[in-house]
């Protein structure tokens, strides 16, 4: 039986400082470093999380490459914050796909990573333990998303973490908007149900 479809809220309308970010975008386009820094602080963590959940090796390098393209074209960019986000994550996704194609010819499934574990191992600075404690919830949530089928995980990351609207996600993933809505809804339901091991055995597929 098909699960009821519930329209997700537009994540951008809740607790994100839209006005500040929009002003920052305008300032950055005009060459203001502070404006760019504001944009970067908001979007770079989302970009890293997206790339890590995708399972891409060298998420930091991919993110750097993405931002390089952004700063090159920012002055000519036209559009609002939603368009800017879509542009940023479109570049990142294409870069990641290119890297994946070059690495493994014929890969049809985008592998998922365990970003929580990776983050825990990568942190070697003195404040690593503090960081890990602060971000335990985020790391656990990312780990959960990484257990989803790759296509669903990517939908969730683009919709929830990147903050793209349904239309942009659908365009980016070449899917119908309805499929994106249903996919994200089911994924979040699945995640809320399946956290932690289940005692019962497997069922027939």
């Amino acid at each position: 039986m098909r699960a009821p479809v519930v329209e997700l809220d537009d994540f951008r309308d809740h607790d994100e400082p839209m006005t500040e970010l929009e002003l920052a975008l305008v300032a950055a386009r005009a060459g203001d470093e502070a404006g760019f820094a504001t944009l970067w602080r908001d979007l770079h963590p989302r970009l890293l999380r997206y790339l890590r959940v995708r399972g891409d090796e060298g998420a930091e390098d991919l993110a750097a490459e993405t931002w390089m393209h952004v700063v090159k074209g920012l002055a000519a960019f036209e559009g609002g914050l939603a368009d800017f986000r879509a542009w940023l994550f479109t570049i990142a996704r294409h870069r990641a796909i290119d890297q994946g194609r070059a690495r493994s010819r014929g890969l049809s499934v985008v592998p998922v990573a365990d970003p929580a574990e990776a983050a825990a191992r990568e942190t070697t600075a003195p404040s690593a333990e503090d960081d890990a404690a602060e971000n335990q919830a985020t790391a656990a949530a990312l780990r959960l998303v990484a257990t989803l089928p790759p296509a669903q995980a990517e939908m969730v990351m683009l919709r929830v973490v990147a903050g793209l609207d349904v239309a942009h996600v659908a365009s980016l993933l070449d899917k119908r908007p309805g499929a994106v809505r249903v996919g994200v809804h089911r994924a979040l339901k699945t995640l809320s149900r399946t956290a932690g091991p289940r005692p019962e055995g497997g069922e027939e597929s």
Binding site: A28, F36, W40, D42, H44, P45, R46, R49, G55, G58, D61, A64, W67, M68, V71, L74, A75, A76, E78, G79, W87, T90, I91, H94, R95, D98, R101, A102, R103, L107, P111, V112, D114, A118, R121, E122, N135, T138, A141, L142, A146, T147, L148, P149, V156, V161, S171, L172, T190, L191, S192, A195, G196, P197, R198, G201, G202, E203, E204, S205
Partner: protein
Amino acid sequence: MNGDEHDEASLERALRAPGTPSELSEEERYVAMFRAARATDAAPTPAPGGARRAAIRRLGAGSTLAVVFAVASAGVAAAYSSSLPDPVQRAFHSVLAPIGVPPSDSQRQATAQEARTTPEPTPPDASAAPSPASPTTSASADPSTGPSPSSSESASPTTAADSASPSADPSGSATPTDSASPSATDPASPTTDPTDPVPTSPTGAPTTSPSPTTTPTAQPSQPTPTVPPVAPPASVSIVSAGAGQRVAPGGTAVVAGQVRAADGTPVASVSVVLQARGSSGWHRISVARTAADGSVSMATGPLQQSTSVRLRAGGVASPAWRLVLQPTLVASAQTQGAVTSLSVSATGGRAGDSVVLLVRRDGLLVQQARGVLDAAGTARFDVPTPARLTRYVVRLPATPTHAFAQTRLAVTPGTTPSPSPSASPSPSGSASASPSP
């Protein structure tokens, strides 16, 4: 953490949490990139060229060359026309000489002057790998980490085309570009230079200039009369490494590179150090000399974990190149009455690595259990014996030491499936004891 604690709202909040200190630690670097881009934004746009874009993109592979990476990407347009300020043009040329970016005026003048004067020896390499133009010193090399024969294939680097632009259709697909980079090296028969403290593997044609055999001196800057003039390396690039950057556990990768002088000509017979990044920084793996065409090729030792490598010559280093260890997963099932034990063996995994068991329900893969690898690299899941054919997926998530791996296993009541080999390096193509959908 259990499912009750993870409702959707808290999950979304956690996913959208503000950036962590580690995620935001490189803000200054990115702002510097932005600043550099703005500084050269008014430069004319160059004609598009795949080779140029590919070379520029390779810069992105190395976070260690962040400054050059940022400057080069932003001002490459101006660099082609030599319209950048001298220091910027110099930086561009040092990295992009192989693709035709000309040197700065001061570099051209210096090169011309240098050609008229007594040759200066190449500055000693920080990694204790002397160039052939400098006196040979007793480097603290580790002979045990010399080059080893490799069975790995050489592959081309990822050189994606521009995939998105501000006004472009975001759905436009990116196109990877392949560039063959054959190596003249025969790693199976390295010829060791007796004067080199580190085993070397010369590549290509024999060197045309003799290797100096002077004794260590306290004044390494003094020119050696017998050394012919050799232009110092201005750019070092990795043109291929390993088989698509993926290496099997215990396998080796061949790293091929190119060394060019400031004027873009290949630098022959110069020592190139293959370095790997460790917890304490870059350390030497091997040393080889460039061939007449400036090419060099070296094999890494057996890799037990993912690592970054680079080539270094005359104080110039290439962007870092990531070699990713691809683990191998094997899963098997043993049914004993009401309980079926699923055993997983991971080659290339590490003790403590997470292993996730998933089962397909309603067309979706749902996590069934999560375990960890023991010291032997194995994990076991005990599940109730299914009443019907059930297909499981076992995943080894990626970690900093290895890539993601996955395998599938079908369990039918009354049968004992044979072990299923891993999907690696193609996670989606795993073999299974029973046909997978």
